[in-house]
Amino acid sequence: MLGRLFLELGTVILALALVGRAAGRLGITPIPLYLMAGIGLGTVMHLDDTAEKFIHTGAEIGAILLLFILGLEYTSDELRTNLRANRRIGLLDLALNFTPGVVAGALLGLPPLAWVLLGGITYLTSSGIASKILSDLGRLGNRETPTILAVCVIEDVVMAFYLPVVAALLIGGSLLTVGVNLALALTAFGVTFFLAMRYGHVLSRVLNVPSDETLLLGVLGLVLVVAGAADLLKVSAAIGAFLVGIALSGEVAHRARAQIEPLRDLFAAVFFLFFGLQLDLAAVPDVLLPAALLALVTAVTKFLVGWHGAAQAGVQSRGRFRAGTTLIPRGEFSILIAGLGLGLAPVLGPLAAVYVLLTAIIGPVLARFDAALAPRVARVLGG
């Protein structure tokens, strides 16, 4: 029994390693390939119950760790100053990139709540892919880079408000219960956010034990406990984890990141794989056209945000072009949001998968042609 489970899990993880290597060769991010590996495995392999359950739980842990590490990335100081300094570009981003998803949801005849989900899917740039592009290509020192990072940070904060709201709305029920759930979720989120900002340093000190092993266990345990409690309060487990990440700062954040990152890499890969596994292949041809159109439109709107933001920062046209293209890829969070809405509108799954696949390819490919294309775009946009 155990032998079969290990065999299956090992095969799955090896398959992920293989596509990860392929992605490295091609110079693209592995996320879309993990998705495709999941789709492929779903068709050729029939996992038995235990393996399936394990992968499902692993995927949930992956979602939690993605958000936790995201929270760890930012100190509360950075969040505060960044929000203040980049309000305008953040609002532009929200208006330009949330709207296409909402409109598409309406045009596709989905239930209204699914419009909001689709809005989130098109809004959120993959900060994972963006920061990977920046560091892999040695672009951290570029002048447009602070703009790109600032947009990502604001999106992450918006996401932290968005997720609990959506989670509360998804529970549904009468208008009253929805209202109560919403209020409960926002209060819980607000209180925790306040506590994390205010007393994060205390928590950081308590958790910062000398032994690496104890630190890992302490942090991981806390993340899971808070995520579980948040889920029971209907706030969304991922947001609980995000808040723990925000609360931790200083040395303990640095050490925890080093220790949890490998776990995150493993479980996040499982998360994308699981999403692919669940996908109904028969539904893909139907969503191909809408996903392509949506990818096209939101590639343009996202590009405009990056271009405009970089222009404000005094960057020349080539840098503006790079800022625009780097923001195009959507990734982990779009998949996460689509996963939330599968019960409501199953079409969100394949739609988001194809959409993420397309945007994750369009962005990095376009970015390579900055010298050739930037002057033309500048002529059109008058830069």
């Binding site: 920061s131 040695g138 951290l140 020192g141 880079t145 602070p146 940070v153 960057v315």
Partner: protein, 164 residues
């Protein structure tokens, strides 16, 4: 006096950079985990990095010492002192350079420009104090030290074969 700009990179660290006297932007990113990333901008696109090298804390200290950091305050953010009359630059050796594939001695760099080649960077590795027989390759970065005018002439020499 060098005017240092300070920019926060959320999730990454801090970036310090300045517009160098020889037309290139030079900067250091202090990563959260203590790594130092040193970069120079591209000549034709000052917003982009042409080269960046990542150093750990110990290595960064060694480089700082080599650049004269021991006599200057090490704290970034404070004014840097420049040594009067001495300039240093990283010159990329482009594919079209007449010296790509030829020995360093052929350039007669010191005779013609008065500058010295102190190192050649190749594939992220430094070759310190290369001799005249050292063969340059396209893609190398040549580190030269000399007077400000000499360094400018060296840049022209490397790219076109003539210093004027």
């Amino acid at each position: 006096m060098v005017r240092l700009e300070e920019t926060s990179l959320p999730g990454v660290g801090m970036r310090y950079d300045f517009d160098g006297r020889f037309g290139k932007r030079v900067g250091v990113i202090v990563h959260r985990d203590g790594r130092r990333e040193m970069f120079v901008s591209l000549r034709e696109d000052p917003d982009a990095c042409a080269q960046s090298i990542t150093l750990d804390e110990g290595e960064a200290e060694v480089v700082a010492d080599l650049l004269g950091g021991s006599t200057v305050s090490r704290r970034v953010g404070q004014t840097m002192q420049d040594i009067e009359g001495l300039a240093m630059d990283w010159l990329p050796l482009e594919r079209g350079s007449p010296f790509a594939g030829r020995a360093l001695g052929d350039s007669q760099m010191r005779t013609r420009t008065g500058t010295s080649v102190v190192a050649v960077m190749r594939a992220g590795q430094a070759v310190p104090a290369p001799g005249p027989e050292f063969v340059l390759e396209a893609g190398d970065t040549v580190v030269v030290v000399g007077t400000a005018g000499g360094v400018r002439r060296a840049a022209r020499l490397l790219s076109s074969g003539a210093e004027h």
